[in-house]
Each structure stands twice: as structure tokens, then as C-alpha cells.
């Protein structure tokens, strides 16, 4: 039995929602029987971005907000790899939101797991982009006066082809969603609602568990004609927040070509001879021949 957890000491606060996401993710990898050496978990900076060190696959712990960019480079250069990004709401929706949006335009086959707890944990509880206006969590000196971003609506309009929400303390449900996200051929966003027991004293375990319910919608786009309708439904659903909070898969569209497939339209050998696999030297001499290109410059 392959162990998908490392023995590194996990330095999250007791009962942090990150534990639930970590368990769900490692269980998902185990269920899928994914080759550890062919999997890369990439993160940014923050509590949740320590995740790569706790999962026994390749780990790339990058810069605040930039995990998606590194993940994109890895996947583009070696499309055989399964690439997963784990980062927080401050990381992905604050400093890194440009990358989150741009990823939707490409539909590169990567999975983004958004650890969403409404606060910047590692810097002691400032408001994150998902904290609703008017709330004052316990480390905030005043009420939050910014409106919140809805990561699902953002992902849907940005072009994500798999959009889902899970809840960190429901590990089995989250695991199933992560599995589907990983197997989806395109950019997938899994927004995982997650209490922060240390700094978010409003959106607590009790608060969430009174409100969340599981979607039973037909979320999958079956034909190009119904894409708009399905997306509109998903968008409306994504705005549901208050007494009732839906979790589950909101939208899935397998009809949009992935970025790799788009590249392969120009480079037919892309999947068999991607950048990471190219032999560029023999006996320490270049094997690339530029004589044809030089001919074009002849005078």
C-alpha cells in the first residue's frame, strides 16, 4: 500500500480545516492509485501552502500567489504529470487572482484546490478576499468594509471547465470531488470551505454545518447548445450564500479543448515529445540544426 502522506511534522493549528483537505486529497490520490513520481503538488505561500511537504508526491512550494504559474510551466513542459495546486483564498484570490483568472482562458489540465477560510491565517487573521462585508472576525480591528469575491462565479466566467465546492470537515465527500477534479481534462477549481478555528470565529464548523447542503443538480454540459444554460444555472447557484450554502459540483464541461490539445494543433508531436523529454545534445554537442533558419537570413 503506497503511503501518500509524509512523516513531516504538520504545523497547522489543532482542528484546522487544512487537515480535512489534506486527508481528502491523499485519500483521493490513493483511490486513484496515482503514480507518486508522476504527480506534483504545487502551492503558494500561507498555512495551506505547506501542503506539498505533507503529501508524498513531488512538491513545489513557491511564492505567494504564484503557484498556478509554476504549475502551468510544469504541466506544459511535461504533460504526463498530474499537477495539483493547493493554496489559500488570500493567495489565489488576493495577490494571485490574475493568474487564477488567466488559467481559465487556457483550460490547461491542472486541478486547483482553494483552501477557503476567509482569513489570512499565517499573518494572524487579516480579512481575505472571501470574507463578507460587515463581518468582524476576532483579529480584525474594525469590520471588513470590502465586498467579497465569489470564487465559483469568478471561475465560471473565467472559463474553468470544472467548478466545484466542498467542505473540509466532510472528508469523504471532498475526496470524491477532488478525484473527479483530478480526472477532469481541463482546469478544475475546487473551492473548499474551511473553518479557521484560530482566527475566524464567525464562519465556524457549527456555522457551516447548519447551512451547507449537497447539490443534486445535473451539472455536466452534454452539448455545445446547453453550455450557456448550464453555466447560467451554475452561476445563479454560486451566488446562493446565507441560510443555505450548496456544496458539490456546479459545472463540468468536457467539450472545450484543453491547452495541451490546443498546442498539439500546432505541434502534432507535443504529447509524445514535450519540452521535458527532448534530447538536445549528443556527445555534448547540440543536436538542433538551425541551417534552414539561417538560409532565410542569407544575403
Amino acid at each position: 500500500m503506497v503511503n501518500y502522506k509524509t512523516t513531516e511534522f504538520i504545523d497547522w493549528c489543532p482542528s484546522c480545516g487544512d487537515f480535512g483537505i489534506l486527508s481528502s486529497e491523499t485519500m483521493a490520490l490513493a483511490d486513484l492509485g496515482i503514480d507518486r513520481s508522476k504527480t506534483v503538488v504545487v502551492s503558494g505561500i500561507g498555512c495551506s501552502s505547506k501542503t506539498p511537504h505533507y503529501i508524498n508526491v513531488n512538491g513545489v512550494h513557491t511564492l505567494h500567489g504564484r503557484g498556478i504559474t509554476y504549475a502551468s510551466g510544469i504541466k506544459l513542459a511535461n504533460p504526463d504529470l498530474k499537477v495539483i495546486v493547493n493554496s489559500g483564498d488570500g493567495d489565489l484570490l488576493g495577490i494571485g487572482v490574475g493568474h487564477l483568472v488567466s488559467a481559465g482562458r487556457r483550460n490547461l489540465d491542472i486541478t486547483i484546490i482553494l483552501h477557503n477560510n476567509g482569513v489570512y491565517g499565517l499573518t494572524k487573521g487579516q480579512a481575505s478576499p472571501t470574507l463578507h462585508r460587515g463581518l468582524q472576525t476576532k483579529s480584525l480591528p474594525t469590520k471588513n468594509i470590502n465586498d467579497s469575491l465569489d470564487p465559483l462565479a469568478l471561475a465560471l466566467t473565467a472559463g474553468y471547465t470544472f467548478v466545484a465546492r466542498a467542505y473540509a470537515y466532510d472528508a469523504m465527500f471532498t475526496k470524491e470531488i477532488i478525484k473527479k477534479a483530478i480526472m477532469h481534462n481541463g482546469t478544475a477549481l475546487v473551492d473548499v470551505l474551511q473553518p479557521c478555528p484560530t482566527y475566524n470565529n464567525i464562519n465556524t464548523k457549527e456555522w457551516y454545518e447548519k447551512r451547507i447542503y449537497k447539490l443534486e443538480e445535473d451539472y455536466k454540459v452534454g452539448s455545445a447548445e446547453e453550455a450557456n444554460e448550464k453555466m447560467t444555472k451554475a452561476l445563479i447557484k454560486s451566488f446562493e450564500w446565507g441560510d443555505k450554502i450548496p456544496i458539490g459540483i456546479f459545472y463540468e464541461n468536457n467539450l472545450i479543448p484543453s491547452y495541451g490539445e490546443r498546442i498539439a494543433e500546432h505541434i502534432p508531436a507535443y504529447f509524445t515529445d514535450p519540452p521535458s523529454k527532448q534530447i538536445i545534445e549528443q556527445n555534448r554537442r547540440s543536436t538542433t540544426d538551425i541551417s534552414k533558419l539561417l538560409k532565410n537570413l542569407n544575403v
Partner: protein
């Protein structure tokens, strides 16, 4: 012999095409050329121009003044007439144009020109300029462009608006005809430029034929014997060097003057490969990222998988890459950033040149980490340095910054094909674990038992690795232990010491001229060309020079340079910036301070004449700091 030429006109009116046409025609007749493009940060309307030196020997710099000035609009007449030496071609129908009718001219420029005109009693019209030039014994040639265009339209039975597109060809042809070279060189160049567009070729051929007959072949040049040659600009040289060096991935965000390199790579993404007797192809993935932060992140991600990966940018974009470069330094990831220098600070002079970012390149990224910074001095060096940059990045597992100025990116020169020979150039992929480590054992990415450079296993092989921008242990997991910190920090920094020892002196700096001279010039980048071009002239005037062009800045080649610079009477520092940044490195590392400075920061590269004049003033008058300001 050397003949200098320029053509100017509204941006978007075909100045670029005319200059390539003229350059190719001259080059194919066996002459070497060096050309420079000057343009505003705009697409249409503003004044742009192209200047060129041609010679039977290699030529490496731009001139101050021109033997032939080619114009077809009024603004070029006003902007450049002071630079006329022998022939001045202008539009017959624009004779009455006044300087006030030129709308795009900046008020500062207009005032300068009007002041000069007032001082020299020149009427501020094209006609007035022509009269003035005639008093200076400059041959003025009026061309009725509109008449030729009308004839072309009639004979080809095409719309006049289409025929007008040959205006630039007419201008290039008139000036080419002055040279006395066979018109077939021009016709071939037209075919070469417009490729298979038969109607365009026909139109331009006809225009060229008509223009050719207008002047006499006064320069009386003959075609020269030549070997196989190319005409290449700096962006293309960088792209070709990267291709030859094995680039497999490039990410970029559009920025002047860097993006032409990435666009070339994308347009030529599938390249030939030759492996013993197997012929094949491989393809480079080129990605336009959402910003430069993403561009560097993607390139680093790709580098982690083992692909030779790079990005290309200019000042504002490079500023955004600092954090990524710091991460690459900390995680020992081989990455190449091609850094095109332009006029700074901020947006500065986005389409002009400068060398004010040398220290920025050397110091970019928070914290201390090994970083190798190279700067090329000409197109040939750009090509070879692009290969070298990958080798150094992989050998020392660290970021390499390759500096190319706009003055090199947007100039072109004629090279012998053998200048770009890389058949004997080593491709050094550095320390890769071979065979891959036992997957049952934990791979240590930062193993300390192998010296400062640990064996690398790219992501996707059978090992598992961790990379973190946090301080980390041998495995790659976060560690804040103080002893580990001391050791890991030391391991990284030691790579720079290793690089200093291992990199050859001829890759660190070039030395030209007279080693016995009491005068040594230190410089980097584009001034190299002008310095090489004046060394013989100055020698005839009894001024001997030794020139040291520094090509690598970290690790700084202090030892090798000290031997060259010590005991010299004059150490003259030549740079395109205000604070003499290279000079301060020399002071810091060698404890030898430059005695004289030649500096320029107006966005234009140094030309042959102004540099020659400045050196003479230093030698003869002991002027300590000369600021150059030439250039339109």
C-alpha cells in the same frame, strides 16, 4: 571605404521595409553593413528612421552624419538635414512644406531646429533647407514620387492607393542607384523580402526600375567577392542562439524591445534536429503569459522538469521578475532571463537604448544567491552567449541573466555564416543524476556530499523531490535550523566561487587593441562596436588604445581584469548611463578607479565620430568626464 546612409519617414510608412531592402541589396553585393532602427513608442505617424554604415570590411557602429540622406516626407528633411554630408534626396512635391505643417514633431525638437535655422538664416521650409544645403556643397536630389507612383499605377492598372505603397522602394532605389551597384541586387532583394507575393514584387520592381534611372552612379562601387553571409538583428540572434542551445520552453509577456525574440521563436517553433544520421524535428513551446510574474513562474516550472527554459523581457517586466529569480536562486533552478535594456527609469524611453540597469540585473532578487549576469557586445556574441547562458544555468543550477541592449536588439549587421558556427560549442547540461537514483530511497535534491552542486533529477522521473523557497534541508523540506541554514547558504554561494574558477577568461571579457598602450578603455555591451571601428583611425593619429569589454559581471572577473588595468596611465570608462555602473564595479572589486569617463544617457547609442572626438579630448585635454548627447 565606408559609406553612410539613412532613410526616414513617418512610422508605418515603410521605412523599415526600405531599410531592409537597401541593406540586403548592399549586403548581397558583398559589402558589410551595420544598421540601426530608431522609432517612437507608437505604431503610426511619428518620425522614425534607419541609419546604416556599409563597408568592404566588417562594420560595427552607427555614424554621426550620412553620405546619403533619403527622405520622402517633410519632417525627415527638417530633423536630419544637419547630418547631410554628400547627397540629400527629398520629395519634389513637398518643397513648399513648412516646419509648422509637420504635426507630429515634439515642441522641444521643433524649437531646436528653428533656433538652428534662425542662426543660419534658413527659411523654415523644405525649399529653404535645400537652398542651405546647396550653399554647403551638398548635392540635393529632388524626386517626384507622386509622378512615379502615377505611372506605376497606370502601367500596372492598379489603384493609386496601392501604387503608393511603393514610395519607400522608390526612395531606397534612388539612393541605391547612387552607389553604382547593379540594379539586380535590388531586384533580388525585393523578391527576397516580399517572398511569393507576385503582384507586390511586380509593383516594387517597376517602381525600382523607374527610380533607378533618376540619378548617376556617383559612388562607382563594384560588387565584391564574398562567402556565405547573413543579415541578422539582435532579437533574431538571441532566438537562434537559444534554439541552437536547446531551448524547449519560452514564456513571455509582450514588451518592447524584447517580444520580437519570442515572436520569432513561436513563428519557428518546430526546428530541425540531427543526431548522427537521424534527421528529425523538435518543437519549442512558446507561451504568452498574463504578466511577467507568470512568465518567470512558468519558465521556472518548466525548468524543474528538465527542459531548457527561458523568458525574455525588458526593464519594467524584469522588475516584476525579482521574486521569481530569488526563488530560482534559493531552489537552485536553472533558468535563463534574456534582459533587453531600454531607456529607464519607469517607462523611460521605451523604444530607445541605455545601460542603466546593469546594477539592477546584478542585484535583482531579495537575499543573497548566486546569479550569473552576462552582457553581449554584438550580434555574434548574442548568439553564442545565448547558448552559454543555458550551459551556465544548468552547470551551476542557478538563474542566468543575459543582457542585450536595444542598441543591439534593433540593430542589424552582416555576419559571415561561420560567425554562427556552433558545431564545436559544448552543450553542458550540468550535474544530472545518472542513472536516476533508486526510487526506493529518498532522493536528496540538495545532497551535500557532492560539493556545492547537487545531482539534479528533473520532476517526472522516478524520484520524488521537494522544492521550497523557504530555507530547506537536503531533501527539500522546510528547515529553520540555524546550522542547516549556515550550511545550505554556504553551499549555494560556493557555486559562484566555482563558476569564477571554471569560466574561461575569454568568456569573461574581450581584449582588443594595443596591449602596450598607456590607455585602457573599459566598457560593456554596445559601445564595443564603435570602439572597434575607431581604434585604427585613432592609431593613425598616434593615439593607442587597449579596449577591455567585460562580458560577465557576477562572478566579476576581478583577477583577470586587474592584470590588464594596473599600471595604466588612463583607465577610461565608456558606458551608456549616468553613474558609471561598470566603473563602480571595477573600483569595488579591483580597487582601481577609472581616471576618465565617457557617458551617454539620451537613449541613443554611441556613434563612431562622437566617441572618437571624446577620446581625443581626454588624451589631449585631460577632460575627466565627457557626456555625449548626439542622435535624433
Amino acid at each position: 571605404m565606408k559609406i553612410t546612409w539613412m532613410i526616414g519617414g513617418e512610422q508605418g510608412s515603410g521605412v523599415d521595409t526600405a531599410s531592409v531592402l537597401f541593406g540586403k541589396a548592399v549586403s548581397s553585393a558583398g559589402y558589410y553593413v551595420f544598421g540601426n532602427r530608431e522609432y517612437y513608442s507608437t505604431i503610426k505617424g511619428r518620425h522614425s528612421y534607419f541609419e546604416l554604415s556599409m563597408s568592404d570590411k566588417k562594420v560595427n557602429s552607427i555614424p554621426e552624419n550620412y553620405d546619403i540622406i533619403t527622405t520622402f516626407d517633410a519632417e525627415t528633411v527638417f530633423q536630419h538635414f544637419k547630418q547631410a554630408k554628400k547627397y540629400f534626396i527629398y520629395s519634389e512635391t513637398k518643397k513648399k512644406k513648412t516646419i509648422d505643417s509637420v504635426l507630429g514633431m515634439e515642441p522641444e525638437t521643433k524649437k531646436e531646429i528653428l533656433d538652428f535655422m534662425a542662426a543660419n538664416k534658413i527659411e523654415p521650409t523644405v525649399e529653404g533647407v535645400v537652398k542651405y544645403l546647396n550653399t554647403k556643397n551638398i548635392n540635393t536630389i529632388a524626386v517626384d514620387y507622386e509622378k512615379i507612383i502615377r505611372e506605376v499605377a497606370e502601367e500596372q492598372n492598379i489603384n493609386i492607393a496601392i501604387a503608393e505603397k511603393s514610395m519607400n522602394t522608390i526612395a531606397a532605389s534612388v539612393s541605391f542607384a547612387l552607389l553604382g551597384l547593379d540594379r539586380n541586387f535590388l531586384i533580388q532583394a525585393i523578391a527576397n523580402i516580399f517572398l511569393k507575393k507576385q503582384d507586390v514584387i511586380q509593383l516594387n520592381n517597376l517602381a525600382a526600375e523607374k527610380a533607378f534611372g533618376l540619378v548617376k552612379p556617383v559612388f562607382g562601387l563594384n560588387p565584391l567577392e564574398k562567402q556565405e553571409r547573413i543579415q541578422i538583428d539582435g532579437n533574431t540572434a538571441a532566438a537562434l542562439g537559444k534554439i541552437a542551445g536547446g531551448i524547449a520552453f519560452q514564456s513571455y509577456y509582450p514588451i518592447t524591445p524584447a517580444s520580437d525574440e519570442s515572436v520569432y521563436l513561436e513563428a519557428n517553433q518546430t526546428v530541425d534536429t540531427k543526431n548522427e544520421n537521424n534527421y528529425g524535428t523538435r518543437s519549442i513551446v512558446v507561451v504568452q503569459a498574463e504578466d511577467e510574474i507568470s512568465a518567470i513562474g512558468m519558465a521556472i516550472g518548466s525548468a524543474l522538469t528538465g527542459a531548457r527554459s527561458a523568458t525574455a523581457t525588458s526593464g519594467p517586466g524584469f522588475a516584476l521578475m525579482g521574486e521569481g529569480l530569488s526563488w530560482a536562486g534559493q531552489t537552485e533552478t536553472p533558468i535563463v532571463v534574456t534582459y533587453y535594456l531600454r531607456g529607464a527609469p519607469s517607462t523611460g524611453l521605451p523604444t530607445r537604448s541605455g545601460q542603466a540597469d546593469l546594477k539592477f540585473a546584478v542585484n535583482i532578487g531579495h537575499g543573497e544567491f548566486p546569479k550569473i549576469v552576462l552582457a553581449s557586445g554584438d550580434h555574434k556574441e548574442v548568439f553564442h552567449d545565448a547558448i552559454l547562458a543555458f550551459n551556465l544555468a544548468e552547470k551551476y543550477q542557478t538563474p542566468v541573466i543575459h543582457i542585450i541592449e536595444k542598441a543591439i536588439a534593433n540593430t542589424y549587421s552582416t555576419l559571415d555564416i561561420k560567425d554562427l558556427d556552433y558545431s564545436q560549442t559544448e552543450i553542458d547540461r550540468g550535474k544530472l543524476a545518472d542513472p536516476d537514483p533508486d526510487p526506493e530511497k529518498q532522493y536528496k535534491r540538495y545532497a551535500l556530499d557532492a560539493g556545492p552542486v547537487s545531482p539534479r533529477v528533473p520532476l517526472g522521473r522516478n524520484s520524488i523531490a521537494w522544492y521550497s523557497g523557504d530555507e530547506h534541508n537536503e531533501v527539500g523540506h522546510v528547515s529553520e535550523n540555524s546550522t542547516n541554514r549556515t550550511i545550505m547558504y554556504d553551499k549555494r554561494m560556493k557555486k559562484l566561487e566555482l563558476a569564477e574558477k571554471e569560466i574561461h577568461d575569454d568568456e569573461k571579457f574581450n581584449v582588443f587593441g594595443d596591449s602596450n598602450s598607456e590607455n585602457v578603455i573599459i566598457t560593456f555591451g554596445s559601445p564595443k562596436g564603435a570602439l572597434i571601428d575607431i581604434i585604427d583611425d585613432l592609431s593613425k593619429e598616434k593615439i593607442k588604445l587597449q579596449i577591455v569589454q567585460i562580458r560577465i559581471f557576477t562572478p566579476f572577473p576581478a583577477k583577470g581584469l586587474a592584470e590588464l588595468l594596473q599600471n595604466k596611465k588612463r583607465v577610461i570608462d565608456v558606458e551608456n548611463n549616468y553613474t558609471a555602473q561598470l566603473g563602480s564595479f571595477v573600483s569595488e572589486y579591483l580597487h582601481i578607479s577609472p581616471t576618465h569617463y565617457i557617458l551617454k544617457w539620451n537613449g541613443r547609442q554611441m556613434n563612431t565620430e562622437e566617441l572618437k572626438d571624446a577620446i581625443k579630448r581626454i588624451i589631449n585635454n585631460d577632460e575627466k568626464r565627457i557626456v555625449l548627447s548626439d542622435g535624433v
